[in-house]
Symmetry: C2
């Protein structure tokens, strides 16, 4: 038996890293099902078999691409929310601060070349509308804690909002956020082709936060209270 878990010798980490970066870039602007291992290995300039050797399968590669960035990202989100709640000391946190804690860590997701941050954001946005089943399997696992935490904070900050209403508004919030990160391809075509650079993530966030805060704080539609008899939790599924 060899010395277990020994530090790789030659270009092994280098190869795995190149695969990683190439995969992230291609997934970003092509999607997951569409991107072939051949395209990835060609871009990374490594052998085709290298992916299955280093990662085991294409699905495992996708999972690792996410784990590497989604963990720190959501960790930063919750840490920032922690600080806000600690500073507030039991009182509700300001909504704009909550939204900022949700949106802005997306910028400083890692201390890497900074390009990786923006790249991963579009990758994540794309994943949220990806049909693949393995996406539905482990992506919610990453997000559940974040959603629970932010839902609680928002529920405190917006006390006159029913639980159902809050669910919808968080739904819209995540939608606008995900789309803003992923949808540059589709939208820049039918808005105006020559606006402020879409790559400038900071600009997106600075405009997105007020938009979302206003939407979250908006008065409930018609104050219809409970609009009929409250459907009383249908099939729990």
């Amino acid at each position: 038996m060899p010395s277990l878990h020994r530090a790789p010798t030659k270009g092994s980490l280098e190869t795995k890293e190149r695969i990683f970066d190439a995969a992230e870039a291609l997934f970003m602007d092509q999607g997951f099902s569409t991107t072939s291992l051949r395209a990835i290995t060609a871009k990374a300039k490594v052998n085709l078999a290298a992916v299955n050797y280093h990662f085991g399968s294409k699905e495992a590669l996708i999972r690792e691409v996410f784990d590497r960035s989604l963990g720190p990202l959501n960790g930063a989100r919750m840490a920032q929310l922690d600080r806000l709640e600690a500073a507030a000391g039991g009182n509700p946190v300001a909504i704009d601060k909550i939204v900022e804690a949700l949106v802005s860590p997306a910028l400083h997701v890692s201390h890497d070349p900074l390009k990786r941050g923006a790249a991963f954001l579009r990758l994540l946005g794309r994943a949220l509308s990806e049909p693949a089943e393995y996406m539905r399997a482990f992506l919610p696992a990453h997000y559940r804690d974040v959603v629970v935490r932010f839902r609680r904070a928002l529920s405190l900050a917006l006390p006159n909002l029913s639980e159902a209403e809050l669910t919808w508004r968080m739904h819209f919030t995540f939608g606008a956020m995900a789309y803003s990160m992923a949808g540059t391809d589709a939208v820049e075509l039918f808005t105006t082709p020559d606006d402020a650079g879409v790559d400038d993530a900071e600009a997106i966030v600075q405009r997105l936060i007020p938009f979302l805060v206003a939407g979250l704080k908006s008065p409930t539609p018609k104050s219809r209270a409970t609009r009929s008899v409250e459907p009383s939790a249908r099939k729990v599924a």
Copy 2:
């Protein structure tokens, strides 16, 4: 030469229709690249070759699925905006009415079984984040007029909003809208599993409109006015 364009004899329209419905349903919750012709023909219970016979290719099938619903949908949107502008007589139209004209026709998109309407909405939402190139080719063609019209109306209704700011807010608006229509799969997992039925498109719209209106009307971030020198309408495109 046969009698051109004769009414089909047996189950031809019936077959084409079944392919159409099956394709729409599968595209909706699987995406385009991911859905195979074999899956479509299996669901439609027709022969594999039927797709290429009736539509010519998979891409043509996708295009027809869109043309059939996107045309009437955007037509209804613009017609509704027409009525609003005629009633306003030169004055700006109320923002909530504009947003309603954009969002609500999605409900009454056709006089079909009504289920088709909701189905197509999710299909459209998914298309907006689809990587395929043929999507970028003909989808903007359908949307360009709508965007231009609504941008003009919103620009009048929100006079103290710079063009760049308006672009971003429309961006976010389309994002929340598209995601709300497509993202039921991803979101219902990490919000709460047992909320009001996501299939109830009317409920979505009634909650989405106030959210978007509030976002669109929100004060500009720092009132940085025209942040540099006003880019003065570059290439009109």
